[in-house]
Symmetry: C2
Subunit: 378 residues, 2 copies
Amino acid sequence: MLKHHLITPGPTPVDPDVLLAMARPMIHHRGAAFKEIFQGVRDGLRWLFQTQSDVLTLSCTGTGAFEAAIINFTRREDTLVAIGGGKFGERWGEIAQAYGMNVIAMNVEWGQHATPEALAKVLEANPDVSMVTLCASETSTGVYHPVKELLEVVREKTNALIAVDAITALGVHELPMDEWGIDIVVAGSQKAFSLPPGLGFVAVSERAWERADEADHPRYYLDLRKEKKAQSKNQTAFTAAVSLVIGLEVVLGKMRAEGLENMIARHAMLAKATREGVVALGLETFASRPANSVTTVQVPGLDPSVLVSKMKADGVFMAGGQDHLKDSTFRIGHLGFYDESDILTALCALERALQSVGHDFIPGSGVSAAQKVFLENP
Amino acid sequence: MLKHHLITPGPTPVDPDVLLAMARPMIHHRGAAFKEIFQGVRDGLRWLFQTQSDVLTLSCTGTGAFEAAIINFTRREDTLVAIGGGKFGERWGEIAQAYGMNVIAMNVEWGQHATPEALAKVLEANPDVSMVTLCASETSTGVYHPVKELLEVVREKTNALIAVDAITALGVHELPMDEWGIDIVVAGSQKAFSLPPGLGFVAVSERAWERADEADHPRYYLDLRKEKKAQSKNQTAFTAAVSLVIGLEVVLGKMRAEGLENMIARHAMLAKATREGVVALGLETFASRPANSVTTVQVPGLDPSVLVSKMKADGVFMAGGQDHLKDSTFRIGHLGFYDESDILTALCALERALQSVGHDFIPGSGVSAAQKVFLENP
């Protein structure tokens, strides 16, 4: 018998209640039943993003949503500063480049977090920047950047719009959009929402909307003006991904029942337990400032792909390292529909894999270290 | 007790087997299990599109897929001829316009089909056109254009790429991509696939790929070169809409079991029965050349929105007329997971609604006319 345990940083497991809701008979996306669901969804999203602004739901994944965030609020001649430090932070610069913008890629070593000081230097050299993009929780490295501090630097030095990739940060780290003055927040369904992939979200401040009419990038499917108009009437501009929206309604209800503070605290606890478990096994965590969403584990002297394969054979599916981190790291996901047992499952599989490759550690020390964290957070 | 019957031209009802498959626990989009599913899906799509070319699966709805079809194979300075005649045919011209292309909108009266003669005139006046777009089955009017004949004119008069919107035509009308020499075919999951909305498909011929490197429209999420590279390895460039892809695998298996010829014949029979039922009730069909996908019904002297509301109150959900046809028509969908009973359900509700507004007809004549068609096609 082999149970399948998905411990990846998205897609994450989906709550059976949500799976069943999505398996209900199809409804039409222009009918009253859908409109009622979508109104509830819009309310729930505003609650989750902590904003009074509209949160637009798009039928695309996170990259499409971030592309929309860039091209709807900038001009081709504009300068965009992309804070790097990982695959996703760098991707937002690539998008702007594809649209012919002047891109200043702020290099950050993978595994390190961006510092306010370094950002200040970049912005002082480019005071006329129109948009700064930041991947709050970098899924490729497991780093959580000091978002609030970085935002303050942008405000202080420039008049740029701030677009935050919160794809693995929303619901996982504190990120109050309005309170922190974030202009655009992007998210995706397959992360803390614990839904299947297929929906992207873009929350847009009034300050950003003021720049929408000047934006001159060609766009149609990702034209957010169309979506704003339609969604204010509880419709989508193009066909909605109906079943995912139905699942979203259920998920948002469950998130509200848990409470945002509790949800963030749960993620913080699971992340801490994962890190302590990993360190107890003689391995290292990679991130200078670890995220609550994903833990990137360094395995000096070991082949991470062998460990990942061994765990997979045991039914526990983790993600390998991304890009050039492939040969030195693997990733444990803990954002979304996860609890203490899932972390013990991950560490149990990891201990077995480590034993199989002859790694020297005290059997049980990983799960024991995690369990201590749980007992401290009853 | 009220049963919910969805008789709209997409989203269409979803087979319970497919709903259950999509409700299976989530898997990771970079794992071996997904790759195996995706390989089967790619094979199945080539079968359905009747092509040796790659059929790319995108996480977006039909409009996004058609935008990709235009912007990946044309240049900004190019001329595009958009064959109109309905909301969707015209939309493809709007997309090209949004990208700054020179668009020749070939006007076709809504409800009428484009004729090869009229197209020949347009193309003779614009022999350097780079792309011709055609909505095979126009969902807004219920017209099926004479695709094969129109294609021949394009081939004869120009060197343009032909992009066919087959969103409500694929699996419903004969449309052999390779045999007919179509360069690009676009489809969407919520139509004959009978899946929830959220996936778009773009099949691309070698001839079209040869123009991909010259295409100069900015694009990232909809960059098909990235998708071609990834999908040839049974991966998607960005996160796949996993649950929909799992449903797609099941659907394609069911389609192959039914057989393409039988599937098209079923749609033709359901469409014919619908038309004969409607006419027997003293109403009129709108399309000059009716599609097998959707029947647009004209109701002279009656308010179609009253009929649609009355049917909805009876649990039978049809679509209203589109745009300026709203006050004179409504639409009966019969593409996808539909059988004879569904058509009788639709006509039964329609007869009740007509009776409630005092329309003069012989009770039972609609369902009887449809049933005769079924008995002729045992």
